[in-house]
Amino acid sequence: MADEFLLQVGGVSKAFGGVQAITNLSFRLFKGEILGVIGPNGSGKTTLVNLITGFVRPDSGKVFYKARNITGLQPHKIANLGLTRTFQIARPYDSLPAFKNLIVPLNSPRVRRTRGGKLGDIEAVAIDMLEEVGFERDARVPYKTAGSLPLGYLKRLELARCIALKPDIIICDEIFSGLSMSEITSMIPFLEKLHLEGITMMMIEHRLRELFRLTDRVMVMNFGEKIAEGMPQEVIENKEVRKAYLGTETS
């Protein structure tokens, strides 16, 4: 594992009214790794994503990305730095055709800058990108309105939106949730490919078996706190983790 870290979260806390969603959480995301984040429902995983990507401002603590303090920066600015996220509940633009969903990120300052303002035929680029994430090229699917697509495609569309930004980090918020086994197995190689291309990932997941195929480091959260961190195997053996999360599910 490289020593260089891309993202450092230092002692962040967040309370919604009386509910302490995250308490003094710190971790690092190293360049080129896939970090898994697991924890029971309501343990603050999604809030953590929101805190990192600027959708929610932490009460205290700091987030550093490439040694730059990004705490409290607006979400679109953070996305433009190459730190992208997917949403747990897919957020497509329902009334637009699927490929037009990608016109939005392709018009972001980051893409314009990296591509020198010249994208050529932007719609062709968008359709290529959909093909890359697993849409059939010649089928009608890319032209259908996103609102009419099944969940499997929407999850891929979420990923495509991140990839369109040519990101350094993708944070996947339960990308496998609601997908069938076959959809998941077809998505895993694609995520591995992204990883090989050098994209650092953080995956929040409930599907442990699939997650452990991808990650080499796992962080476990419970009640807004980090209760364990390490190799998947050690984490599973951890008593506290089993009590909090895994219960008697695995033997």
Binding site: H76, F87, R91, Y93, S95, V104, N107, R110, R161
Partner: protein, 336 residues
């Protein structure tokens, strides 16, 4: 379906699908099919001044202003997701700036109208800027308050002619210029906005309407884009106001009248939200209608409301969406 040597042919679906992407038109019939509605609209609007008498020509001018406002309302509500009830604010700001430039500095309308449109749009946008973070009903409420706010400020400070307003502003040389100026403005705004919503920026606007969080996550500053959209609407509205103050050679508090906020919505509902051309058509129907009903006095509002309720209950999609659907399903008989 066959009857003798003729059969029913559906002309359109395929053309519609093809023309949404690239313009592959293969016959005169298809070209006429595409051009006819636009042609009827433009020629129809431009011949109206020729057939109307003096009184109705004036009505046409104010219908044009309502058409601009309705167009702006439809654009913001259906394509950007901001329900803006501040039509009266745009009219008032544009009208006051243009009128004051004329009254105090003697600028001719030729100069004061464009300056007032741009300056008014900048001012309106800056004032609405803090509210752009609000969504849905909250933005509607705040934008609805601004005209009232402006009226009370003008009255309280006693500036700009206070309650009496300022009369004897420069007017247009003749009624033809009056009419064709506003008609050209309506046509240009209509086709301009239609073009805009199909460009990339229009896709981003639609994205903001559908899901603003996802737009943020795509690295796009939604406030910046909302500002652009509000500016475009304000520009059209302020032009209407500037035009109005020179149409009557008068500026006063009634430029901020609620009519300018409410009527466009009625026109948009009647004409068909989201079709852009519908609200324009709605304004050209509703404004003369409310003039024709003037004889009923206060009862006019009741009749007016009944028409609106009728539309909301029986044709919630509005006139234009209905007509467009029918047009695109157009069937004709052809020889076998």
């Amino acid at each position: 379906m066959l009857t003798g040597d003729r059969r029913k042919k559906r002309l359109d679906r395929s053309i519609k699908v093809r023309t949404e992407g690239l313009y592959a038109v293969s016959s005169w019939g298809e070209m006429v099919y595409l051009i006819a509605p636009r042609f009827v609209l433009i020629v129809g609007l431009f011949t109206l001044p020729l057939v109307l008498d003096m009184y109705w020509q004036r009505v046409l001018c104010s219908a044009g202003i309502y058409a601009l406002l309705a167009l702006g309302f439809d654009f913001l509500a259906e394509f950007v997701g901001l329900v803006c009830l501040g039509g009266a604010f745009f009219v008032g700001v544009g009208g006051y700036i243009s009128g004051l430039l004329n009254a105090y500095y003697g600028w001719p309308p030729l100069l004061s109208i464009p300056v007032a449109s741009v300056a008014g749009a900048v001012i309106s946008t800056l004032i609405l800027l803090p509210c752009l973070r609000l969504r849905g009903i909250y933005f509607a409420i705040v934008s609805f308050m601004f005209p009232l706010f402006a009226v009370y400020i003008i009255v309280a400070l006693g500036v700009f002619g206070s309650t009496e307003g300022i009369s004897a502003l420069a007017t247009f040389p003749n009624i033809w210029i009056e009419q064709y100026l506003i008609l050209v403005a309506v046509i240009l705004s209509l086709f301009g906005i239609r073009r805009l919503v199909s460009e990339d920026i229009g896709v981003i606007f639609q994205g903001i309407k559908d899901n603003d969080q996802a737009v943020k996550a795509s690295g796009i500053n939604i406030t910046a884009y909302r500002t652009k959209a509000v500016f475009i609407t304000a520009l059209i509205g302020c032009f209407g106001g500037a035009y109005l103050s020179h149409l009557y050679g008068w500026l006063g508090l009634s430029l901020f009248a609620m009519d300018f906020s409410i009527m466009p919505i009625a026109a948009a509902v009647m004409g068909g939200m989201g079709s852009l051309v519908g609200p324009v058509l709605g304004a050209f129907i509703l404004t003369p209608l409310s003039e024709a009903l003037r004889g009923f006095g206060q009862l006019r509002v009741v009749l007016y409301s009944l028409i609106l309720i009728g539309f909301i209950v029986y044709k919630p999609e509005g006139l234009m969406n209905y007509l467009q659907r029918k047009y695109h399903q157009f069937e004709l008989w052809e020889k076998v």
